[in-house]
Symmetry: C2
Subunit: 388 residues, 2 copies
């Protein structure tokens, strides 16, 4: 285990009706609120009204920024920053999924920065302060509700870049499983794939003896395997939604990554796909991850894949390690397929045209792609080709 | 899963040399510090000097309260409260194991309370404010380093009572696995039993579909089974000490208990034993837990025991549930035995003299003993008898 600092102060209000907790939270923290939303689903399903009811009970003035798109754009971030400055906003309340929360985070640090907010993403400038943020989550996927990360896409140059800072961790988040009932099958499945991919990025690592983190990672994966298909089939199954929601948050709040070297190669590759072709991030990961697994499987990595196969998929530990590894990878791919996700680039109409450019761009954006196996251009191209 | 609020703000500095983090933490938080220690081991092994070096670097005046005993006494708490008042202390730094931390917590809330600090324990008064606390942990066991609980014994009446409050959660804790190298075999083993018992108290529950919590609980138990024996045999094995230390903290920081009904019957019974006979808490639990398990095993609880046997001990899932349950309980008892712990009251010279009184006292102190199975006086007596 590597030395680490565990510092996860976000308060989580988990369960039915927990939206009522935000009245007191806002009273403590806010004088004027920017309420950020996405493409309107929260207005159709009543969540927005429930949230605004609490804001009104707290008697705090607010204004709205709606229309945040999936793979949130820098344009919306600029718009939010301008609004916050003009309206003297001191608190941002994100009501939606990861994209809405990520846009809110970029706005929150952008408002208090004198330069261009894109400097944080493209020039390595670190955000040192940000407006406080609260979230009401409507989609189990990114973990943004309890971490300090945000991913923003600059549309004109098709660059999708990520940053992380403790100042971007929300003060509080409301996680009501019922608020995810209206997420359709495809986005539910993509969310599950995203959660599993986050776990893989932290699980597949050469760090020695980080058993606590690894056993917890396997625990969360088992929850995804059990409840992912249930949530897809029965959208209003409380148990399935609750377990996926909480697993998704714990999958990327630092708990299973701290104390370990992490990988993130699948994300580096997928960000290129969704930056250029604007596909759903989770679907992109369902395509990339199994091919990444096959590519990095070697004598040096096989023990970890065997652990994965035995501890997560329950494959017989007496089989040869190689068989266990291959079976585990195949099961992973089939699981995504069963959820109704694409597992080839063909299914989402992505041709091989830009593979080399994407590989170069991923290495440029991430500095180094992967640590479980560090990927060169030819590795990334090879993974993309096998994903066709 | 039951609704819950997750609010665990304690900052953990985990790993070798992390004591250096306290200089900055103390500078932020303290003007005059009470440094609380136990029976002198931290002075012999150099930990006290390393801590004081940081306090001095921070240039903050401090005074010492040493001599806190295992099963910490109310007398020391009174002494600490008096010292804090006299010396105008505004921060408490606990350097030691759970007893030192628990005493520090009781002092921290006692200082700011006008009445008798024992009111919190015996009269149900809730602490609403406390001096801030930091800890440097030297024993993996109680989880007190990241939770708001404290257990204090009133010597004259032999009552050992527990309270919990968010104001008692430490601001920060330093967890350096090397700081646990000098813990002897017996106390290492007792610590592991304590950690496992904490997990059992939260794991064995009728709450439906708290899979995230339950799979994480199993993950932590597996870490104990793997590394407990190693830490006992090789006291300076970093991997073993690190995994046990982090598992012990996560075992009782709320993570695996929130969203569930918890039990705590084994603790209620053990507190009676250690209050009267002053045995090590972990050793008392090693005796009580397997007998509690046998006593509560029934048609209503067997599924949970089968999960435990299959997921933690790897018992063949095709066997009959009853066999799995009995085998799992037997393996638990043998595990404690292998660690060198007592598994009968005879081994620690406790006779049957006070069983009924202990049962009555447990019910009086806890209101209700157990929820997985609520225990009446005769149940507690029966568990104690089978522990002879």
């Amino acid at each position: 285990m590597i030395n680490f600092t565990h510092n996860i102060p976000t308060i989580i209000y988990f369960g039915k009706g927990q939206v009522e907790a935000i009245e007191a939270e806002l009273k403590k923290r806010a004088e004027k609120i920017l309420v950020v939303t996405g493409q309107g689903s929260v207005k159709r399903n009543g969540i927005f009204d429930a949230v605004i009811k609490q804001v009104k009970k707290a008697k705090i003035p607010f204004i709205e920024l709606s229309g945040i798109l999936p793979n949130p754009r820098l344009k919306s971030v600029y718009q939010g920053i301008e609004l916050c400055k003009k309206e003297k906003i001191d608190f941002i309340l994100a009501v939606g999924g990861g994209s809405v929360i990520d846009a809110s985070k970029a706005i929150a640090c952008g408002v208090l920065y004198k330069g261009d907010v894109w400097d944080f993403f493209s020039k390595g400038v670190r955000p040192v302060k940000a407006l406080p943020i609260g979230t009401v989550l409507t989609l189990a996927a990114t973990g943004s509700e309890m971490n300090g990360n945000t991913v923003i896409t600059k549309e004109d140059t098709k660059r999708k870049l990520a940053i992380g800072s403790p100042v971007l961790r929300p003060c509080f988040s409301v996680l009501d499983p019922e608020y995810t009932y209206t997420v359709n099958r495809y986005h539910t499945a993509a969310g599950v794939a995203d959660i599993m991919a986050h776990i893989f990025e932290q699980y597949f690592s050469h760090t020695h003896a980080a058993d606590v983190q690894d056993r917890i990672a396997e625990a969360l994966l088992k929850v995804c395997l059990k409840y992912g298909p249930v949530a897809c089939k029965k959208p209003a199954d409380y148990d399935a939604r609750a377990n996926i929601l909480w697993a998704g948050t714990l999958a990327l709040n630092d708990l299973i990554g701290e104390g370990k070297e992490e990988d993130w190669a699948s994300h580096a590759i997928e960000h290129e796909l969704s930056a250029i072709y604007d596909i759903s991030h989770g679907a992109g990961l369902a395509i990339v991850v199994p091919n990444w697994m096959k590519h990095v499987l070697s004598g040096k990595t096989i023990n970890k894949f065997a652990d994965y196969g035995i501890n997560v998929w329950g494959i017989d530990k007496h089989k040869a390690k190689e068989s266990i590894a291959f079976e585990a990878i195949e099961k992973t791919k089939n699981f995504f397929k069963t959820l109704g996700l694409p597992v080839t680039l063909k299914e989402v109409n992505i041709p091989s045209d830009h593979f080399l450019k994407m590989a170069q761009s991923a290495i440029q954006d991430w500095g180094k792609v992967g640590s479980f196996k560090t990927l060169a251009e030819r590795d990334i191209v090879s993974i993309l080709k096998s994903s066709l």
